[in-house]
């Protein structure tokens, strides 16, 4: 796995695996599995929401911003 690949796909792969785990855990188990599923499904939502809604000032500081 090259560094470039990891940079582009690392996070999407992680979030994809978490989503798939979350979808299956609650389907196949109950109790603790429902809780694990809630956590796993929540992470992609929170990550997406955080990057979508954070303030522009923080974006400007990111290393690869266009500014």
């Amino acid at each position: 796995m090259t560094a470039a690949f990891r940079r582009t796909w690392g996070m999407p792969l992680l979030l994809g695996v978490l989503t798939a785990f979350g979808l299956l855990a609650a389907l196949l188990g109950d109790g603790i599995w429902d809780h694990l599923s809630a956590v796993a499904l929540g992470i992609p939502v929170v990550v997406g929401g955080w990057h979508s809604l954070r303030r522009p000032a923080e974006t400007a500081r990111s290393r690869n911003g266009p500014h």
């Binding site: 470039a4 940079r7 582009t8 796909w9 690392g10 996070m11 999407p12 979030l15 994809g16 989503t19 798939a20 979350g22 979808l23 609650a26 389907l27 196949l28 188990g29 109950d30 599995w33 429902d34 809780h35 599923s37 809630a38 499904l41 929540g42 992609p44 939502v45 990550v47 997406g48 929401g49 955080w50 990057h51 979508s52 954070r54 522009p56 974006t59 990111s62 290393r63 690869n64 911003g65 266009p66 500014h67």
Partner: protein, 386 residues
């Protein structure tokens, strides 16, 4: 990826999403209240509750239950008797004027211990049923369902092609970058890419399980043709059965499928049974098997078990697709994530639409000033760098 392949994928992404976007917006919007249909029902007072009685209170015969329902709706015939997974104190008897049609359904919720009629849940009309029709068949029956299924396939194609385009766009950007400069277009693009990739697995699962759900009627018809017809060969030429005791049939099914629980019974003559059998659908008792069904076909007159075999793979695929599409199997936390993922998908659809409109406008302006032809295929390197 070379420029030619890239342009091809961009073309696929553009057209697959353009064709389905309006319908996907409709499905996302109507799906939102459907995620919370239990809660909305409760709010509207449409839920049924059984009064508290000792847990070992005796149960009345199912034949009594059916007779009570019959008395509620003269002129209607019972089609299904069913039970919630988490509450076996209430029987739901679904009735119609004709067993072949689901056009005019009535339902009675009957206390399994006292025989009291607890409610007559409305299966038609109301806000949620309106949303459900818009979401499943556009009020156009099977053709409507199959049409939405095709739109779902296009969405799956749009998602896959979008993933292929993600890498070239993101080559020079950190994950999660949302550029907020003077060009709102870059912001739309970054939000589209970010939320598209974040919702990727969920959206693909919901799209494909939705497509499978649109095939429910053909799948049940295939099961009839493939598995049930051969069982009724000995009955050929006989008139349809006058149903005998339902309780005896259910007892026989329990004996034939030990360790399983009853999910629902289809009366003779429905799409889920034969003209000569009660079809007693048994489910597993563990979380992993609760959605898997074993239909036990019981001769409606003799209460002898004709067949008991697990559903074939294509029905199992349908049964597993249902929860994965509805998001109703992991409690309230899952429903909230489901709703937020749905909202994120709406943002992906809208930003995609904005990008397409904006590009068309700019292309037209360029053509006017430079006399250049309007290029339909996007345009990656320039935009990736802003």
């Amino acid at each position: 990826m070379n420029a030619h392949r890239l342009r091809l994928w961009a073309w696929i992404h553009k057209w697959s999403s353009l064709v389905c976007t309006v319908f996907m917006l409709l499905l996302c919007l109507t799906g939102l209240p459907l995620i919370f249909h239990h809660e909305i029902d409760r709010l509207l007072g449409d839920t049924v509750a059984a009064p508290a009685l000792p847990a070992d209170a005796p149960r009345i015969s199912l034949d009594r239950v059916v007779a009570i329902a019959d008395a509620q709706f003269p002129g209607y015939r019972p089609m299904f008797v069913s039970q919630d997974v988490d509450d076996d104190r209430i029987w739901y008897v679904t009735m119609s004027r004709s067993l072949a049609s689901e056009a005019d359904l009535k339902q009675a919720a009957i206390d399994a211990r006292t025989g009291a009629v607890l409610a007559q849940p409305r299966l038609q009309g109301g806000f949620l049923n309106f949303m459900l029709h818009l979401h499943t068949d556009l009020f156009a029956g099977l053709p409507g369902k199959l049409f939405l299924g095709c739109m779902g396939l296009l969405l799956a194609l749009a998602i896959v092609s979008g993933v292929i385009l993600y890498a070239p766009f993101m080559r020079k950007l950190e994950f999660g970058t949302v550029r907020r400069g003077k060009a709102s277009r870059l912001r739309w693009l970054d939000l589209h890419n970010l939320l598209g990739i974040v919702t990727l697995v969920w959206a693909l699962v919901v799209a494909l399980t939705g497509v499978i759900n649109t095939l429910a009627d053909p799948i049940i018809a295939l099961w009839q043709h493939d598995q049930v017809q051969e069982l009724i060969a000995p009955y050929r030429g006989l008139p349809p059965a006058r149903p005998g005791s339902l309780q005896r049939a259910v007892d026989a099914a329990h004996a034939a499928a030990p360790g399983k629980a009853l999910k629902f019974v289809a009366f003779p003559g429905t799409a889920f049974s034969t003209p000569h059998h009660y079809a007693v659908f048994m489910r597993g008792a563990t979380p992993a098997t609760v959605r898997l069904l074993t239909p036990v076909l019981v001769d409606a007159q003799t209460a002898a078990v004709t067949a008991s075999r697990a559903m074939p793979w294509y029905v199992t695929a349908l049964l597993i697709s249902q929860p994965l599409h509805f998001g109703d199997y992991g409690g309230m936390a899952m429903k909230i994530w489901w709703a937020l993922l749905d909202v994120a998908t709406i943002v992906v659809l809208l930003t995609g639409l904005f990008l397409w409109f904006g590009r068309r406008r700019r292309a037209a302006a360029r053509q006017e000033t430079h006399g250049l032809p309007v290029r339909s295929a996007p345009h990656l390197a320039r935009e990736g760098n802003g």
